[in-house]
């Protein structure tokens, strides 16, 4: 198995140095994923932080072929690339193996990009879709998305005297992707690079579509100290807020089980978006959040134990 040092020192298609916010983990996430491919990679990127910070014309941080079209269509663009690849190969115009990869943020994946994603997975195009999930429309300023957690205050669903923030639970995008009966789906987090790398490798090697959701704590809009990105990623996993698991040909496998599950307050504490939850009147929100997390975790373990195919 590759070591962390080997993974992160491998030359990849993204140039070093970046225009991301201080403390942003997208760069290390992309590096770990690209390191997992032993073939040339072609990238379709949805509109979002990653696209904006890597391609400010006339510069490009990409040393691999890369395309951006619009916000919601990275999966459909990748379908086109994959089909062109099949066609040009069949016609003898190209003769090498490639991996095709799509990147989208949670807005471009859970919400507006959902249809294109579902269509591509249903048609079985051979590419990996990666959502870097920072739980909101961060590039445009902390608006709510379907990935925004229950209780978070956003600019479009702010906390106030009559509101505790977002009143709905997040959309379970991983299980929805798995429900397309694709060969590989997984959930990873930014602090656990080796787990992320291994999952990306399996995704690239899958015979058909693969889907990977990676938690990417956003220092700017979650509002925490930029030094703590990886700590918050880890806390999300240690609290079972963001379990690390994979669905391989339908079978659920939980990759990491915290020995002593930490209370959700430890993840919430210090994040500006959850600050209001620590007021006495919102105690019930944290309690409900804890209850829902425990329930979801219990369900995930049962799925794993049962061996039932998703």
């Amino acid at each position: 198995m590759a070591t962390l040092q080997e993974i992160m020192s491998k030359p990849v298609g993204l140039a070093p140095g970046h225009r991301m916010c201080a403390g942003c983990g997208i760069g290390s996430m992309v590096r770990a994923i690209l390191a997992a491919s032993d073939k040339p990679v072609i990238i379709a990127n949805a509109t979002g932080c990653l696209e904006v910070v890597t391609t400010i014309y006339p510069y490009s941080a990409w040393k691999v072929p890369w395309v951006h079209v619009t916000f919601e269509n990275a999966a459909a663009v990748a379908s086109g690339i994959e089909t062109a690849y099949k066609s040009l190969r069949k016609r003898g115009k190209i003769d090498k193996d490639v991996n095709i990869l799509a990147f989208g943020g949670d807005g471009g994946t859970y919400d507006i990009g959902f249809q294109a994603l579902s269509g591509s997975l249903e048609r079985g195009h051979n590419f990996m879709y990666v959502v870097y999930d920072n739980e909101g429309y961060m590039n445009t300023g902390n608006q709510r998305s379907a990935a925004t957690p229950y209780g978070a205050s956003t600019t479009t669903v702010p906390a106030g005297s009559k509101s505790f923030g977002k009143p709905q639970w997040r959309k379970n995008i991983v299980e929805i992707a798995a429900a397309h009966r694709i060969p590989y789906t997984a959930q990873a987090a930014n602090h656990n690079i080796i787990d992320l790398y291994n999952k990306a490798k399996k995704g690239f090697e899958a015979d058909g579509p693969a889907f990977l959701a990676v938690l990417q704590p956003c220092t700017t809009n979650w509002r925490f100290d930029p030094a703590l990105t990886m700590s918050y990623s880890k806390l999300a996993v240690e609290t079972n807020f963001w379990p690390l698991y994979e669905v391989e040909n339908g079978k659920v496998h939980v990759n990491y089980k915290p020995k002593n599950r930490k209370p959700i307050e430890e993840f919430l504490n210090g994040q500006g978006r959850f600050k209001h939850l620590f007021k006495a009147k919102n105690k019930h929100v944290i309690e409900k959040m804890q209850m829902m997390i425990d329930k979801e975790w219990g369900r995930l373990l049962k799925l794993e134990e049962s061996g039932i195919e998703l």
Binding site: G13, P40, I42, A44, E51, V52, T55, I56, Y57, P58, S60, W62, K63, V64, P65, W66, V67, H68, V69, T70, E72, N73, A76, V77, A78, S79, G80, I81, E82, T83, A84, Y85, K86, S87, L88, K90, R91, K93, I94, K96, V98, Q115, A116, S118, G119, S120, E122, R123
Partner: protein, 389 residues
């Protein structure tokens, strides 16, 4: 050897696609375009072409997958109409800026609301400002030949812009005519293959397509797009001459029908031009000097050339099959623009007709010609043909 086949306009376009044998065809059904992708799918199913197809889940994804395949280096086509074009508009608008030579047949149809599946031009007239080449076809024969011309035009290294080839929904789209299909080998040699300089599957030479351009560069890039558009007219004629060698037809920017000595002329696009030509013949036989201008290349619009042929005609009526609410109708606006430079301009009259598939008859066009000949026209007041009450 060319062969004559009884074909609908959509089938004629599918025949052009069969001969082009693109690397990728992306399909989503929408009436009245649907037969194009269905005929083509049957060619694939029967092994007549070896194209890879993507039957997508929406028009938005249709254009997105088309863009992905074109950026990857493939020659790729998809087709649409009406609401489909409207749904894919966001991506359609991105294509010229990405400089991808996609050719898309459009079978013109009215836009909602109210919902109506029949012919008018409000779909493509809504997409005249975003940088696609637009070529209109009178019948299935023209639609077929325009597809061949468009692919060469779009892919020309001095252009690299997408092109739409229009025909009238149901009227041309589903009406069956005898269409001359030219020799496969000659057509294949004419269209050749797409050989892009840069493409995503060339992993040895990675390139970034579709970056973010801020105020320091966006304007310059759009200006370059305009420069490419300015090359279209010249190259359209050159490629048209090349195509003439196979088809023995001519490919001017517009067709002038008995215009030269006309006392009154009508300007009208697509299938209605055929009806108008019959009307011209009938009226000419009665000694009335009338003529027709049928635009074919609508974007870029040949202002100067149109001005040259219309300048000595006393009265010009422009028949639009769409409206531009709160503005002059689209074709009328272009003709008015074209003539403005003249010191002595023809009198002008705008007519709107045929919205949502309303029929237009020779008698309607004759009535319009007689109005024009009477000189009782107003350049400011839109008139309607076939409007009830």
């Amino acid at each position: 050897m060319s062969t004559w086949k009884p074909l609908s306009g959509t089938q004629a376009v599918a025949e052009a696609m069969r001969q082009i044998n693109p690397d990728v065809v992306v399909a989503y059904p929408i009436t009245p375009q649907t037969p194009i992708v269905e005929f083509f799918a049957q060619y694939v199913a029967n092994g007549i072409v070896d194209t890879e197809t993507i039957p997508v889940e929406s028009e938005h994804s249709a254009m997105s997958a088309t863009v992905g395949a074109a950026a990857a280096g493939a020659r790729v086509m998809c087709a649409t109409a009406s609401q489909g074009l409207a749904l894919m508009w966001e991506v359609v608008a991105a294509v010229p800026g990405l400089r991808l030579p996609i050719v898309m047949p459009v079978v013109n149809r009215a836009l909602s609301a109210p919902i109506n599946i029949h012919c008018d031009h409000s779909d493509t007239m809504g997409a005249t400002t975003i940088g696609w080449i637009q070529i209109f076809s009178e019948n299935g024969q023209e639609a077929y030949e325009n597809m061949l011309l468009a692919i060469r035009l779009a892919e020309h290294p001095d252009i690299l812009l997408p092109a739409m080839v229009m025909q009238d929904g149901f009227i041309t789209g589903h009406g069956v005519e005898n269409v001359e299909i030219f020799d496969n080998d000659k057509v294949k040699a004419f269209v050749g293959e797409r050989n892009p300089d840069r493409y995503l599957l060339d992993t040895e030479h990675p390139y970034t397509i579709g970056p973010l351009a801020l105020p320091d560069y966006y304007f310059e890039i759009k200006r370059q797009q305009e420069e490419a558009t300015r090359h279209v007219k010249k190259i359209y004629l050159e490629i048209g001459k090349e195509l003439s060698k196979i088809t023995k037809k001519e490919y001017p920017y517009f067709e002038s029908y008995k215009l030269e000595d006309s006392d009154a002329a009508i300007v009208v696009l697509s299938s209605t031009a055929g009806t108008a030509k019959d009307t011209v013949d009938k009226m000419r036989a009665e000694g009335k000097k009338v003529g027709l201008l049928k635009p074919k290349l609508f974007r870029p619009f040949p202002y100067k050339e149109v001005r040259t042929v219309l300048k000595n005609i006393p009265v010009v009526g422009v028949l639009d099959r769409s409206m531009a609410f709160g503005a002059y109708a689209p074709v009328y606006a272009e003709i008015k623009n074209a003539l403005f430079e003249l010191e002595k301009r023809p009198k002008l009259q705008s007519y709107v007709f045929g919205l949502g598939g309303k029929d237009i008859f020779k008698s309607d066009i004759e009535k319009a010609f007689n109005e024009l000949l009477s000189g009782e026209v107003s350049s400011e007041k839109e008139r309607y043909i076939g409007l009830r009450g």
